[in-house]
């Protein structure tokens, strides 16, 4: 029997919906790939044709939310924001979309997106990271802080970003209010580092 592209897409959607429901109801750690397959009405082996692991499946949910967040960000931009404002809005629109996944986003990030994670293991993770960093690079450039910032600066940004995500995923304050303060600090730090990078450093040459 031939499986059409449409049927494949429907199966993929059933899997992600089932995973979303189970992660929310049972928790990420308590949910197995067998549970997800069963909920979706497919064999466990079939699920692996679509996603190599539970983490990759979760990452696709996270990536879809971040994609939606990016659209929200673009829609909210007025065009006269400072770099700090743009960056905070860029991240917060993503976090708001990620809210349903807050309980397990830490595990996903650790596996797929942390600085220790290898690239090439999860397409969604690689794409999400690249797109996010490209947008940050564009934003910094549009605020007159040079073209593509060097890889060191982007690594710093990514580390801060994941730090904020980690803080947010465990933030017990009301409405995650403390995350806003941490985010504000982190981005001011980042922007300050960009500005520092534009100042000339005096070097003593030893002859």
């Amino acid at each position: 029997m031939r499986i059409t592209a449409k049927a494949k897409e429907e199966t993929r959607e059933r899997i992600t919906e089932s995973a979303r429901k189970l992660f929310t109801d049972k928790g990420f750690d308590e949910t197995t790939t067998r549970d997800i397959a069963s909920e979706a009405g497919i064999a466990t082996g079939t699920l692996f044709n679509y996603y190599p692991s539970k983490e990759a499946l979760a990452m696709s949910l996270v990536a879809a939310s971040l994609d939606a967040g990016r659209l929200d960000f673009e829609a909210r931009r007025r065009g006269d924001e400072s770099l700090e404002e743009d960056l905070i809005s860029h991240i917060m629109t993503g976090l708001r979309r990620l809210q349903p996944h807050r309980g397990y986003v830490g595990a996903v990030m650790e596996t797929a997106m942390s600085p220790f994670a290898k690239t090439g293991l999860c397409d969604d993770a690689d794409r999400t990271r690249e797109e996010h960093l490209e947008r940050v690079t564009d934003l910094t450039a549009s605020h007159g802080l040079g073209g593509a910032p060097p890889f060191v600066v982007m690594h710093l940004y990514w580390t801060l970003y994941l730090g904020v995500l980690a803080f947010w995923s465990r933030d017990a304050s009301d409405k995650q209010e403390e995350t806003l303060a941490v985010l504000d600090h982190s981005l001011r730090l980042f922007v300050a580092s960009l500005k520092t990078g534009h100042t000339k450093v005096e070097v003593n040459h030893v002859t």
């Binding site: 909210r76 924001e81 400072s82 700090e84 404002e85 743009d86 905070i88 809005s89 917060m92 708001r96 304050s173 409405k175 995650q176 209010e177 403390e178 806003l180 303060a181 941490v182 504000d184 600090h185 001011r188």
Partner: protein, 470 residues
Amino acid sequence: MSPEIGELVAALPDGFDEEKAPDEALQTLLSSLANKPVPVGRLTRFWALGSLKAKIALAYMAWWLRSGYVSGDKRAATLNETHLKSAIKLLGTMSYLRGSIMKIGQTLANYPDVVPDEFVDTLSALHFEAPPMHFSLLREQVRNELGRDPEEIFDEFETKAFAAASLGQVHRARLKTGQEVAVKIQYPNIARTIRDDFKNFNALLLPMRLTKDWDNFRAQGEDIFETLELETDYVNEAECLKAAREAFNEDDGVVVPEVFEEFSSGRVLTMEFIEGKHVDEFMATNPPQEVRDRHGHQIFMAISRLYYGLKIVYADPHPGNFYFMEDGRLGLIDFGCCYRFTDETWKYCANVERASHGPIDSEAMDAALLYSVDLTDEAQMGEERLGLLRDYCTWMWEPMQEDAPFDFGDPEYLRRGMQLYGDMIRKRYTRSQPINTWLARSFVGARAMAYRLRAKFNLKAILDTETSVK
């Protein structure tokens, strides 16, 4: 004796030749606040406090050393220069540490004759000109609190703040009904910052813990902390605003803004926008004496109405909270820092008043003063302290002794009061019931406003009316 007044007097620069070393005196100026991000971690804040202390102490030490080699006018000029530098440094750090300690800065700015002009100029800027938090952060805070972006809630929302509040900032906006409003938005996580501040100060004060007045001092500190923490709850402030608004009628000439509850929460407060001038701007128009007198009267009438009618101490009468309106009315805003009387504190204040109204009843006064310093034994009080406290009370009640206008613009009157504070602080008479902190803020703050207005009015008549209304 209020710790804030203690801080104020200790900060006086002319104390160099007295028993306090300059760095010790300036330690009390270790304030913080404002608009750069709040360092969330306690250690970070502690580091910043320590760093400022070192900088200001060094500036004054430098002046002290240099002053040995100069004389006369040059010496005065150098002192001004040092004050200015310190004020700027103080402001710099305040800009970094927004939070509860902004209150100290505001209190200092309220006493134009007591602190150097440069401090007043620089600190005055805190009321209205602190740089704003950026809009994206505010928008997220509003969304957290009200569930929607400001652009969705309001017909129009100014992205730039028009005023800095002690715990956040205020933006102008227009409701979809067309109503002009002021939206006060709190910096995220400020309540935790206040808790951290309090821990830091406790740590700084640890060397004092073996002194005889430690328990009393700690009780005062805890009371300040509790009231400041209450200030982070805008729901509480909204309730005070509503109660106060109902306490005034049209003839009173006092306006308290209406609260729009649908657009308010624990961290966001949407109020009617009040249009008017602050005291400096108002005085710059050279208003006639009778207009200044009327505004002085309104300020004291309003504070007395809240006191006797609602049993609330309006404990934050700094210039930023008063608007002098075009039509002659007084706008009274910001009810975050209000102290509510308990039965016990109300009884104490009533006793002081009974002893002070008309001819002073010395015996009743002494009994009230004993309670006011949290002592039960007259021997512990000592003649000298009792004498100073009597003088202080007499000074405080002096404007009510005659049924006639009192000249609050008389610098000599204010100076005498400050001298009494100074004497009490220098003699370490700091024991006090916590309520006195708020009474002193309210009474002295209102007097400072009347002084700035150079107003004359009959305070006794105001109190007679307000107590009979009660």
